[in-house]
Structures are given as structure tokens and as C-alpha cells.
């Protein structure tokens, strides 16, 4: 069963890992609906 398809997705990206918008593009291609996307910055 697909994990992402049809899900409401919350994205907590990381500026020094994978930033929010990059994850957003990935999840949308898998059929998830991105309801919140943010990028954290620890430095």
C-alpha cells in the first residue's frame, strides 16, 4: 500500500539537509497533498 498517496503531508526540511521545497517537489510527484512546508535552520 502506498504511504504517500492521498495523504496530507507536513514537511519539516532542514537548510543543511534537504530543504522544504525540495521535499515538496518529491512528495507531490508521489500523490501526496502538501499542507505545510517549512525549513529549519540550526545555524
Amino acid at each position: 500500500m502506498a504511504i504517500l498517496e492521498g495523504k496530507k503531508a507536513i514537511i519539516i526540511g532542514d537548510r543543511d539537509g534537504i530543504p522544504g521545497p525540495a521535499i515538496e517537489a518529491c512528495l507531490e510527484s508521489a500523490g501526496a497533498e502538501v499542507v505545510f512546508s517549512s525549513t529549519e535552520c540550526f545555524v
Partner: protein, 107 residues
């Protein structure tokens, strides 16, 4: 996790129902990924934010985990993430994330 982000996670889980929500992380290393995952499942371990003592038990993955990668369009994944697979310690991230999911995820 940032306090504002905790607030939003809580609101979204309330609005759509925790079973319909998935959290996807982009953290730079295993420990930070584990802490964020713990926050959206068992509650804020630092007891600082709105999720302190709130166990949402949400489904949570890191974008580099194979389960997620499998479902993402291969070209887009290659363009957006693949380079970071060489940079991040993906095995460590998977270990941390799996441990949290096994213990706290309810959905």
C-alpha cells in the same frame, strides 16, 4: 523542533485527523531526525513547545528512507535529493527513524 512548526503540526493533525497525516523530514543527521520524529509521535522531548506531553503518534519518515524514495518520481528524486544521499549518513538516519516509528507511531 521550532515552536511555530510544532504549533502547525498540532493544528493540522486536529484538522485532518492524525491518521490522514504524514510528516516528512529533511534533517541533516540521524539524531536530529530522531528528535523531530519523536516530537511528532511521542511529544516534544525538550518540553518547550506546544507538543510537550502531546502524543500525536503521526506517521513520520525522512525523505531519504527507501519507502519514500520508492514512491517518488525517480527523475525528480534524482534532481532534488540524490546528491545529498552521498552526503548524509542515510543508514544512521534509517536506524533512528525506524526505532521511533516502531515505538511511537500509531498509524
Amino acid at each position: 523542533m521550532d515552536l511555530e512548526n510544532q504549533k502547525r503540526v498540532k493544528e493540522i493533525a486536529d484538522q485532518f485527523g492524525p491518521e490522514n497525516v504524514i510528516v516528512v523530514l529533511g534533517a541533516a543527521e540521524g539524531e536530529a531526525a530522531g528528535l523531530a520524529a519523536e516530537t511528532v509521535t511521542a511529544g516534544d522531548p525538550t518540553y518547550a513547545g506546544p507538543l510537550a506531553g502531546v502524543s500525536l503518534g503521526l506517521l513520520v519518515y525522512h525523505i531519504c528512507e527507501p519507502e519514500i524514495k520508492e514512491e517518488v518520481d525517480a527523475d525528480i528524486y534524482d534532481e532534488q535529493v540524490s546528491m545529498m544521499e552521498m552526503v548524509l549518513d542515510v543508514d544512521n538516519i534509517i536506524t533512528e527513524m525506524t526505532a521511533i516509528r516502531d515505538q511511537y507511531t500509531k498509524y
